[in-house]
């Protein structure tokens, strides 16, 4: 395994300082994919995406083409793009939104045509102040170009795109909470079934929700063909994917990598990627797919970056963020901070999530600050078990959305891998790492 020579499908333009402008976009093949799509039938476009076997990049990894093919049995009213990106240590959509907004818009227009939707909303997290400006400016340019609005490029197809700002709430990344937020309400996830967006979505109409990165892949796939995309990667994980690498690495950043052909070791250590762990330290643990995912240790470092490969090993590729912790990291402190995040961001609708996260945070905090009690470890595991019975992976669903059952992931991993550290905190009232 190694770093492969796969083409840069969605980051090819980003090396240019003016990658966000229409001039650069048009000079590098911009809007050719849309023109090509408009000359095809919508079914043919869906078929191309289906052939590519493009898995959704928002976290759940459902194939985009299949989602649309199912949807097209009944007319879809709205397309909503999920740019809420708030999963801790995930920052790939940030790059796409700020550095290549036209690619996102072109992808969105292709998706709108394929699903025959005439009203699109791009929901961006409010903290992306510059991203919101870049996407709006790009949209204004796209309108002038005739790519958005009435009768785009003379095709007879009309579509409007509205950029919508969020206002700071992690839960609004969950698709039904996002729709509630877009309706001007609190971001409360809806109970599914019956409220799958495909059946009852925005304003009660059938709605398709896709992630920013999922959309950004579409221009390349339409131009180069679904089979060219499917030829990259392996098995169900086709094409390239963005991985956001952060924590204890020499070169944190977003890397576009061919799926399955590359391993976590390559990502963390290859000189052209993460460049290794600073100060000559060793790897202690890493989180393979956002803070909702169970942790991995040095033994799992040779796993390939593939959806099924990581799932089979007991975690998930999730949102494509990899957090590296070196051997000077306190596992108690790291899992305490993650737990506090969930306690703050739980929307509060479900008792196991709201109360469970609060209790876990309290117990974790007293252990972290040296006030832990003898039976705290059992208490922690018991509280975890109440949120996600059996502590299985994937967790059992006890709540309206999957935020709740994800809460125990970090604590469960930390206790399983570094039980001694918890015991030292509790028995000696201090941290071995100072």
């Amino acid at each position: 395994m190694a770093v492969t020579e796969a083409p840069k499908i969605i980051t090819g333009r980003i090396g240019h300082a003016d990658s966000h402008t229409l001039e650069r976009y048009l000079a590098t093949g911009g809007y050719d994919g849309l023109r090509k799509a408009l000359a095809m039938t919508p079914e043919a476009v869906v078929h191309e995406i289906d052939t590519a076997s493009l898995l959704g990049r928002g976290g759940a990894g459902f194939p985009a083409g299949r989602k649309w093919a199912m949807l097209r049995k009944s007319p879809v009213t709205y397309l909503v793009v999920n740019g809420d990106e708030s999963e801790p240590a995930t920052f790939k959509d940030h790059l796409l939104v700020e550095r290549d907004p036209h690619q996102l818009i072109e992808g969105v227009l292709i998706a709108a045509y394929a699903t025959q939707v005439s009203q699109v909303f791009i929901y961006l997290r409010g903290e992306f102040a510059l991203g919101l400006e870049r996407v709006q400016a790009a949209l204004n340019d796209a309108y002038s170009l005739g790519a958005v609005g009435s009768d785009i490029f003379g095709s007879g197809f009309s579509v409007d795109v509205v950029v919508h700002p969020g206002a700071g709430a992690y839960i609004c990344g969950e698709e039904t909470a996002l729709l509630e937020s877009l309706e001007g309400k609190r971001g409360f996830p809806r109970i599914k079934p019956p409220f799958f967006p495909a059946a009852i979505g925005l304003y009660g109409e059938p709605t398709v929700v896709n992630n920013v990165e999922t959309m950004s892949n579409l221009p390349w796939i339409v131009l180069n063909g679904g089979s060219a995309f499917a030829a990259l990667g392996e098995g169900r994980s086709t094409g390239t994917r963005l991985f956001a690498l952060a924590g204890h690495v020499n070169k944190p950043g977003v890397f576009e990598i061919e799926m399955v052909k590359t391993t976590f070791r390559d990502l963390i250590h290859a000189p052209v990627l993460g460049g290794g762990i600073p100060h000559g330290r060793e790897l202690k643990a890493f989180i393979p797919g956002g803070v909702s995912a169970p942790w991995f240790g040095p033994d799992e470092i040779d796993l390939p970056l593939g959806q099924d490969e990581v799932a089979d090993a007991g975690s998930m590729l999730g949102s494509g963020s990899v957090v590296v912790m070196d051997d000077h990291t306190c596992a108690v402190r790291a899992s305490w901070r993650i737990t506090r995040f969930f306690a703050r961001e739980s929307c509060g609708q479900c008792t196991p999530c709201r109360e469970g996260s609060g209790w876990l945070e309290k117990i974790m905090e007293r252990i972290e600050t040296g006030n832990g009690r003898e039976d705290d470890l059992d208490l922690l595991l018991d509280a975890c078990d109440n949120i996600a019975p059996g502590l299985t992976w994937p967790p059992q669903q006890t709540t309206i959305c999957v935020l709740g059952p994800s809460i125990p992931s970090s604590i469960g991993s930390a206790i399983q891998m570094f039980r001694d550290e918890f015991l030292v905190h509790i028995k000696e009232g201090g941290c071995p790492y100072g």
Binding site: P88, A89, Q116, E133, R134, S150, A169, Y170, T329, R333
Partner: protein, 236 residues
């Protein structure tokens, strides 16, 4: 029982083409932009969060009076506006400084010294996280992940990224904010979007409906033709 036990039902008549409601606090240009924003959505209430951002751009925060204006524009009750606004971290129902300094302490930043940076910020500014300096200029907040984890510890000022900070660079940043040295790059609190949409909705809803029914018909014909071809093949 007195009649006050039965609150007057909300008057939703305005949405059915009543007179233009009058606003008391949203000013001219902002009010115009508010109405343009509302026109972008199939349902006015969807403009609630954008309007809250717009109001913060004018006032710095969501005062009770300005929430009444938003309610008027959207044909909601002020309580409905507050009910939504209070859910979101970026919507402030209490005054904040003209510069909101957000320090992320989530996992990637934690591993790179964010807690220490936050402590430094609290002691140099003389406030706890969540507080505003005595002169009302700066508000410090501890943030969850800001999706800028490659520049850890990540700091935003008024939601503009200012890159990874050390204690020294943080002090310089604060000095620059106080002197106005970075005003071009970091507008005052609330200004979420300096690029406005240049057009209203262009695809007329009736026109779109017509196009879509024509397309649905064409799709039906293509599906039928595909079925015939398949049947021919099966027969051959």
């Amino acid at each position: 029982m007195s009649s006050t036990a039965h609150p007057t039902p909300v008057d939703r008549s305005r949405s059915k083409g009543g007179p233009t409601p009058s606003l008391t606090h949203l000013k001219g240009a902002t009010a115009t932009r508010a109405r343009e924003l509302i026109a972008l959505y199939p349902e006015p209430r969807s403009a609630l969060i954008p309007l809250c951002h717009l109001a913060q751009e004018q006032e710095g925060w969501l005062s009770p009076e300005i929430m009444v204006d938003i309610a008027t524009l959207l044909d909601l009750t002020p309580a409905e506006v507050l009910g939504t606004a209070s859910f979101y971290d970026m919507l402030h129902t209490e005054p904040v400084g003209s510069h909101l300094v957000s320090v992320c302490t989530n996992i990637a930043c934690l591993l790179n010294g964010a807690m220490e940076l936050l402590e430094h910020a609290e002691s140099t500014l003389g406030v706890n996280a969540g507080g505003t300096t005595a002169d009302g200029a700066l508000t410090l907040e501890e943030a969850e992940c800001l999706a800028g984890c490659d520049g850890a510890p990540c700091v935003q000022v008024n939601h503009r990224y200012v890159g990874a900070q050390t204690a020294e660079s943080f002090d310089q940043l604060i000095a620059d904010l106080r002197s106005g040295a970075r005003a071009a790059e970091i507008p005052t609190h609330g200004t979420l979007n300096r690029v406005a949409r240049t057009t209203g909705l262009q695809a007329d809803r009736d026109q779109v409906a017509n196009e879509r029914s024509a397309m649905a018909e064409a799709q039906g014909q293509r599906a039928a033709a595909a079925k015939d071809t398949a049947a021919d093949k099966a027969g051959a």
